[in-house]
């Protein structure tokens, strides 16, 4: 859990659980996630598909449909205000104005039959009560800010008339239109080419720094997370298994899964002879969570305690914690000398 160090967190989540009731049983997509997001900071959430990172974001946004979804938590606090128990009408006022979200595929995330201008001004009119004219002016300003040339002329265009990178810029403009205090980017650059990804990351960094927006950056790509985030939470099978400041976490990975991820990831600056160290096997079923560490069947570093009791959260350094019984420091030192 990323604890606040003195500063008041802008978003605080405690023990979030999200379950989906399906034909086959209850899928425990998120199983007790807690974190604090500090103002102006970027928190990365990394994990593979099915680890529950997107569902965590949707749960905070109150976008999980119930049924089949079911979201419970001890607390979800946005800028000191409890948003856990609020009704749909108040949740709607928060969405898009105080927490905004950017999704993976900009082509699918924009409505193909509405103009960019329409989609951009919607939230402005809804949340800020701007007139059509004022909303239009603000939309032009926003498009300009996200680097779309000739913004004024492009308001009447449709999403398919934009390239992939441009579409994602539009999505970012929509998300930031009401100056939210939290921006959630869910695999926002995954569908883009690397050169475009670099543009978008650069843009998000610049804009959120200017606006003081706190960001949750969800990604499966450790490299992207290393470049953009202040702190990182690693998710596996619906739980945060390790979290800490980004440098600390990458220099001292303290969970078998984090270590496994780093070992599996090929690097541009690799030794040519380095053989990847994959994680064997497949992720576990989320249908019947086991009480023990869910990573145990795939873990190379399991110790006796792992087979006896569920892993407890323990600190390995200042605000750097892990849910792992094994002490991995020696191993990590040895392999990365």
């Amino acid at each position: 859990m990323i604890e606040s160090a003195g500063m008041e967190p802008v978003l605080s989540v405690r023990n979030l659980h999200t379950r989906f009731h399906t034909e086959d049983g209850i899928v425990h997509a998120v199983g007790g996630v807690s974190f604090d997001l500090l103002p102006g900071k970027v928190l990365g959430i990394v994990g593979e598909s099915g680890s529950g990172k997107s569902v965590t974001a949707l749960s905070i946004m109150k976008l999980v449909v119930s049924p089949p979804g079911e979201v419970t938590a001890d607390a979800i606090t946005l800028e000191g205000e409890d948003i856990l128990g609020i009704d749909e009408v108040r949740a709607r006022r928060i969405r898009g104005s105080r927490i905004a979200m950017v999704f993976q595929d900009p082509m699918k995330s924009l409505n193909p039959v509405l103009t960019i201008g329409r989609q951009l001004t919607e939230a402005l009119r809804e949340h800020l009560g701007l007139s059509d004219r004022a909303a239009r002016d603000r939309a032009i300003e926003l498009l300009d800010r996200v680097g779309i040339p000739m913004a004024r002329d492009r308001l009447g265009d449709y999403p398919h008339q934009f390239s992939g990178g441009m579409r994602q810029r539009v999505m970012i403009a929509i998300a930031l239109s009401c100056n939210p205090s939290v921006l959630i980017a869910d695999e926002a650059t995954t569908a883009l080419d690397v050169t475009i990804q670099a543009q978008i990351i650069d843009l998000v960094k610049r804009l959120t720094e200017d606006l003081g927006t706190a960001v949750i950056w969800i990604s499966h790509d450790l490299g992207v997370v290393a470049g953009i985030c202040d702190s990182v939470a690693v998710m596996y099978a619906g739980r945060i298994v390790e979290s800490g400041p980004v440098r600390d976490l990458f220099h001292r990975p303290s969970h078998g899964y984090t270590l496994g991820l780093l070992g599996s990831t090929p690097r541009l600056d690799d030794d040519e002879e380095r053989r990847l160290q994959p994680i064997d096997g497949l992720p576990p079923s989320l249908l019947d969570p086991v009480p023990l560490c869910p990573f145990l069947p795939r873990c190379r570093h399991a110790v006796g305690a792992c087979r006896e009791k569920p892993p407890a959260w323990r600190d390995v350094a200042d605000v750097h914690g892990t849910r792992c019984w094994a002490d991995l420091t020696p191993y990590w030192r040895a392999t990365n000398g």
Partner: protein, 318 residues
């Protein structure tokens, strides 16, 4: 501009399709046994009289010449005249087409009135009793032949309750005018005719709506904090309507042909009955003229469907 070019191209294609269509009909009609003149004049007529009629309708010439003569006349705007009734085909067509279009429009209005709300609520409250009720209605609507429904409607609403007249379409003047006098004879036929379409359209709208509601941009719209009604009415419906409107236009083109049983029951002087009579009597000019118009009508509604598609979906530009 490109849409216009596409439209022009589609319109240019119409005559080609029509020539294939009319030629097929021409050959089929002439190749089947039965002589119109004998049917009309009976056996006792003198060979000279028969010959005279034959010559008048060019039936003495080879088939290909008959077709070319007919085609030439059509291009000049002359559809010929009925062998049986000795009336210009175009005149008959005018009367019949108006009646058929009126009935088709009434049935279509009924179908839209029922199917649009039905499809939308079924999609929004998917897998609830609302949905089960709506889909149940749709399955029943699919399964009942329109003439059977017409009989039930007649029994309940005309025979037992006496709310609506059984016939009267096409003879509006006889009742002394008034809006109700004009509208009331259409109600039962329109309901009988439109019920299958309510089921068909409702099902289509439900499935396209469900498809759209599962799209990422709907999630985006919710993430913007828009009101659910706005998300449905603006973001979902506009997309779901694209296949729907296209299908409605195509069905309107077919409507005229499905009417035949309904015309038969309610004694409506429409296109279907006219074709039926003409076919039985081997009244070549009438069959030829009516099929031409029906084919044109179908092709035009198809083009309208395509144009609507481009109009509704900005991604498509031909």
């Amino acid at each position: 501009m490109n849409t216009l070019a596409y439209l022009a191209r589609r319109i240019v294609q119409i005559p080609v399709v029509l020539i294939v269509t009319t030629l097929t009909i021409f050959i089929v009609v002439r190749a089947t046994p039965g002589d119109p003149v004998e049917l009309m004049l009976g056996m006792q007529t003198s060979p000279d009289a028969v010959q005279a009629v034959r010559e008048k309708f060019h039936l003495d010439k080879p088939l290909y010449q008959q077709y070319l003569i007919w085609l030439g006349d059509v291009i000049r705007g002359d559809l010929g005249s009925s062998i049986r009734l000795n009336r210009p085909v175009s005149q008959m067509l005018g009367e019949r087409l108006i009646v058929s279009l009126q009935l088709a429009t009434a049935a279509m209005l009924f179908a839209l009135l029922i199917s649009i709300p039905l499809g939308i609520v079924a999609a929004i409250w998917r897998n609830t009793w609302v949905d089960y009720g709506a889909t149940g209605y749709m399955v029943l609507g699919f399964s009942i032949p329109n003439f059977a429904l017409a009989l039930i409607l007649i029994y309940v609403f005309a025979v037992e309750l006496d709310w609506f007249p059984i016939s009267g379409i096409g003879s509006s003047t006889s009742r002394g005018g008034g809006v109700w006098a004009f509208v009331s004879p259409f109600i039962l036929p329109a309901v009988a005719l439109g019920t299958v379409q309510t089921a068909y359209f409702g099902r289509l709208l439900r499935s396209s709506m469900i498809d759209v509601l599962g799209q990422d941009y709907i999630r985006t719209a919710h993430a913007k904090g828009l009101k659910p009604a706005v998300v449905i009415a603006v973001h979902a419906l506009k997309n779901a309507m694209i296949p729907f409107v296209t299908m409605v236009a195509i069905h309107f083109g077919y409507m005229i042909g499905i009417q035949i049983t309904i015309e038969y029951i309610f004694a409506i002087p429409g296109m279907g009955l006219a074709v039926l009579t003409a076919v039985v009597n081997r009244d070549f000019p009438v069959v030829q003229g009516f099929t031409l118009v029906i084919a044109i009508f179908f092709l035009v509604t198809n083009i309208i469907a395509d144009v609507l598609y481009t109009f509704l979906d900005p991604r498509i530009r031909y």
